[in-house]
């Protein structure tokens, strides 16, 4: 009961498990798979990659089973209560056999046990006087509540308004790039369904695709991370940020990089085709310079901290900035980029970018925000440290798993596959740490509008990351590589993990910085549309990708596999639309949190106007 009703929002248990069950059965029914493909049928279920995927799909199913157990338990209690009713009847019959004196004595005992104080009997009629301000967050509801009221952000010591302004600008520009980047993504998704939508060179698929990926990487995710980082890094060291000026320069440089990069890509100027490395070096250099300035800033802030230890958040965040700069240098220095060298570096770069920049930085943020939102310390500091070192050790190795079976040396491919399996260590320890931090606080989820974002992030951190491991095995790689399964995976992770954690963090701090809460209805709509949209986006792509891979394995004509994908591409466009609308709503929420409404704070203003001579007290409603 405990786990079932409190763990994820109820949607996850009921709806997803059913949906996944249907898809699961659909994908693996004998008629679909076995009939045409005699040779693969024995192999499919003995493949570790497939088994891991099935296990991940089974998690929600297990939750459903748990639900069944709870229901069965209820039936048991119902039967038990009927038995008790019979017992009560027998007891009543027994009472009838008692004499009058015994009954009178029992009546008196019953009266004594049920004695209640009259109102005011002990307190008197004094008015309530909360001298020490112990009561806060009082909610009085006169009407029926359609939306559950969530806890407001707690009043905290004020943050330096100058730093607030910087953080907010990071988050505002991040929001812009989210809306921009996903508008492009949405358009690309529609183009796969309707390829003749436009015939402009600047809007053709091959040019827009990197615009989408780079804008959401360097624009949305990176800027949002940096903005939240500027809040967390000084806070956990209990100091002011070392330099606001360096922060502003980072903001300018990163934004300039994404603006110029997007324009260059649309004009057909790119670096030569490596994914996420499409910006030419002068443009990516702006981004790297921004990171260097922030690194200096963060290191100086950490150096002058007033705490003895460096809180684990800062381990992750500062390391992520150092690694991102390293990765960028390795990827853009031309000395080792000829022939196959380019591909080896590309594999390293694209995966370290994801794992050592986005994932590492965001984990650092979670180590701060999750305990903060739950108002309790992180479960285990040591697990956080284990995850940190094992992430560095294993993640660095796995880059070339994007080029399994390619002309890259077989030994390097094997190292990447082994490293991918090793990723289970940081992922499992991280997830355990987060879930154990939640333990005993699940009741806080229903009253908070930030915690659901963190829960989704944690779930996808576990399933999405291990899915990556499963994809790296040689059998699953043959089945899924080059198909849309990879696209689904990258969205489950970059969106399901990173974006959801970032939203959680943004909703946690912006109300503190601006003293304005977003409307809870629209936060809820944002959450659900983003989540449901992601499911509609990724599940059809995973299914379609699997079926497409099977067609290729069977040696069917390529065009058959394009025809096969049509309905799945349509579903992805539908899911993408939901996600896109969610981002518009998120932008609206940002607006509501930022823009001050022309509302006079009567309590604040009145004492400042003693010059008004006559006034009449207006009766407030």
């Amino acid at each position: 009961m405990y786990l079932h009703s409190q763990l994820p929002p109820p949607f996850f248990n009921k709806y997803t498990s059913q949906l996944l069950l249907i898809l699961f059965l659909y994908g693996f029914t004998p008629t679909r798979l076995y009939a045409q493909n005699g040779s693969e049928q024995a192999g499919l279920f003995s493949q570790p990659g497939i088994l891991i995927t099935i296990f991940l799909i089974l998690i929600p199913l297990l939750a459903a089973i748990l639900y069944l157990v709870v229901k069965a338990n209820n039936v048991y209690y119902y039967l038990k209560s009927r038995k008790q009713a019979e017992e009560a009847t027998r007891f009543a019959a027994y009472l009838k056999t008692l004499d009058a004196a015994t009954l009178a004595q029992l009546q008196q005992e019953k009266y004594n046990l049920q004695y209640l104080n009259k109102p005011g009997q002990l307190t008197g009629n004094l008015p309530v006087w909360d001298e020490k301000g112990l009561l806060a967050n009082i909610n009085e509801h006169a009407n029926i509540r359609f939306i559950e009221t969530k806890r407001k952000a707690l009043k905290r010591p004020n943050i330096d308004p100058a730093l607030s302004r910087l953080i907010i600008w990071f988050l505002v520009t991040a929001t812009f790039w989210l809306v921009f980047g996903t508008t492009i993504g949405e358009y690309l998704g529609i183009k796969l369904v309707a390829p003749d939508l436009d015939h402009a060179s600047w809007l053709s698929f091959g040019r827009l695709r990197p615009v989408h990926t780079n804008a959401v990487f360097w624009g949305w995710s990176s800027l949002a991370m940096l903005g939240l980082g500027y809040y967390v890094v000084p806070r956990v060291g209990n100091v002011q940020i070392a330099s606001l000026k360096l922060g502003w320069w980072t903001l300018y440089l990163v934004n300039a990089s994404v603006v110029l990069g997007s324009l260059a890509l649309m004009a057909g100027i790119n670096n030569g085709g490596g994914e996420y490395r499409e910006y030419i070096w002068p443009i990516q250099l702006l981004f790297a310079l921004g990171l260097v300035l922030t690194l200096v800033n963060f290191l100086r802030t950490v150096a002058r901290r007033t705490t003895k230890e460096i809180y684990v958040s800062n381990w992750y965040i500062v390391a992520a900035v150092i690694f991102a700069i390293t990765i960028g240098v390795v990827a853009y220095v031309p000395n080792w980029q000829n022939g196959m060298g380019e591909t080896i570096i590309q594999g390293y770069y694209m995966h370290q970018g994801v794992g050592m920049w986005f994932m590492l930085f965001t984990l650092g943020l979670v180590y701060y925000f999750l305990p903060q939102q739950l108002n309790k310390p992180i479960y285990s500091y040591s697990l956080g440290i284990l995850a940190f070192w094992s992430q560095i050790f294993f993640y660095t190795l796995i880059g070339t798993h994007h080029f399994v079976f390619s002309a890259i040396p077989w030994s390097l491919q094997t190292v990447a596959i082994v490293g991918s399996a090793g990723m289970a260590i940081p992922v499992v320890s991280g997830t355990t740490n987060f879930l154990m931090t939640f333990r005993g606080s699940w009741h806080k989820v229903s009253g908070s509008y930030t915690l659901p974002f963190f829960i989704i992030g944690i779930i996808f951190y576990f399933t999405g990351s291990l899915q990556g491991t499963a994809e790296a095995f040689r059998y699953t790689n043959r089945l899924w590589h080059f198909t849309d399964f990879t696209i689904a995976h990258s969205h489950l992770t970059m969106y399901g993990i990173i974006a959801f954690f970032l939203w959680g963090g943004i909703y946690a701090i912006v109300p503190r910085l601006t003293a304005q809460e977003p409307p809870q209805l629209t936060v809820g709509i944002h959450f659900w549309m983003a989540f449901i949209g992601l499911m509609f986006y990724s599940i059809p792509l995973m299914l379609g990708g699997t079926l497409r891979g099977l067609l290729w394995l069977e040696g069917k004509p390529f065009i058959d596999s394009v025809v096969l994908m049509a309905p799945y591409w349509l579903w992805r466009a539908i899911g993408g639309s939901l996600m896109w609308v969610a981002h518009l709503i998120f932008a609206f929420n940002m607006y509501k949190m930022l823009v001050t409404h022309k509302k006079t704070r009567i309590n604040g203003v009145a004492p400042e106007r003693p010059e008004i001579p006559d006034y009449e007290l207006v009766k407030m409603q």
Partner: protein
């Protein structure tokens, strides 16, 4: 953990570990692969025009949907005669001061692999029309159309390449559709994408995970070899020009439905055309040597021609594989004479 309460020690340790691993899994292997591999001795250098075409390919982001790598697994066999090896990419160096090396291996196949497209689809006419509007030749294609690489001209001048676009895909109004320089360069690049033969067959890597064909997959009474599906082979090798309905495209690719060559009781000319190509009629595009380019076996050719001879209302006799083998041997002999 006092050691890690010193930020210098902590971040230097982490950075050191990351540098160390980066060096061993990325920089060192990259340098070794770059230095240990040379282009194959008989690999053709790209001409200036083909290089310009490669720049067009890069600029339009074709790599988003098309890979250029044949993996050493059986399922990649349709895309090349042999798996790609490191030497195939060794000729790629830095593009220019602004741009990195473009090996264009890619990470996704929304469209087919292009490693060997110069052999698989060498027809310039087909490629230009396909570039102008992919759905004019492949109805189900989701590839973007590139009409902005073409011009509408009233008069075709010398040096212009006109393409014959079916009416439903033409813009309204008079005029001839002519390829721009960029389009011609791009097609030249695609035509140059050919796998280099390895001189020593002993070093050709094998395709792994061969597909097993079960006897149960073969319909009873079939004359073709077990597991070969004429419809699928036709779709892979012939359909993009001659179309699924065998009717071809007016003014570009001739119909096979009712074609005297296809229906001829003696399949010699038909097999000759498939193996060695054909270009007797100016109104149609030249037929490439599909059979030779794709290394089609006698069994595969048997499956294809029997599909062509018995579909779309065609009613010729099915040719047994032995007869096809005989004709192939004969063709080989006449070629060598």
């Amino acid at each position: 953990m006092d050691f890690f309460n010193d930020h210098r020690k902590l971040f230097l340790t982490a950075t050191g570990l990351f540098f160390f691993l980066t060096f061993w899994v990325a920089i060192m292997p990259a340098i070794r692969n770059q230095n240990d591999n040379l282009p194959l001795p008989n690999a053709a250098q790209l001409t200036a025009e083909e290089l310009a075409g490669k720049a067009v390919y890069v600029s339009h982001g074709c790599v988003a949907c098309h890979t250029q790598q044949v993996r050493n697994i059986d399922m990649d066999k349709p895309f090349g005669k042999r798996p790609s090896v490191a030497a195939d990419y060794a000729g790629n160096g830095r593009t220019d001061f602004w741009r990195n090396t473009a090996t264009l291996m890619g990470t996704g196949r929304i469209g087919p692999d292009l490693t060997n497209i110069g052999n698989r689809q060498p027809s310039a006419e087909w490629n230009l029309l396909h570039l102008y509007q992919p759905r004019a030749v492949v109805k189900e294609s989701v590839m973007p159309a590139y009409p902005f690489l073409f011009q509408v001209k009233q008069q075709v001048e010398t040096g212009d390449v006109e393409i014959n676009v079916p009416d439903e895909f033409r813009p309204a109004g008079p005029g001839k559709i002519v390829a721009t320089k960029e389009a011609r360069q791009l097609i030249a690049y695609l035509q140059a994408l050919k796998q280099t033969e390895l001189e020593n067959p002993a070093v050709v890597p094998a395709f792994l995970y061969k597909r097993e064909i079960k006897a149960a997959d073969v319909p009873a009474g079939s004359t073709s070899e077990p597991g070969l599906d004429g419809v699928a082979l036709y779709a892979s090798n012939c359909q993009s020009c001659h179309q699924a309905n065998g009717e071809g495209l007016k003014g570009a690719f001739p119909a096979l439905k009712g074609s005297p060559i296809v229906l001829d009781d003696n399949p010699e000319l038909l097999i000759d055309v498939i193996m060695n190509g054909y270009d007797p009629r100016p109104e149609f595009a030249a037929m490439p040597a599909v059979g030779k380019n794709s290394n089609l076996s006698a069994a595969e050719i048997t499956a294809i021609i029997n599909h062509e001879r018995t579909s779309w209302g065609n009613k010729a006799r099915e040719v047994p594989a032995a007869e096809v083998q005989q004709i192939l041997d004969l063709l080989k002999k006449t070629a060598s004479n």
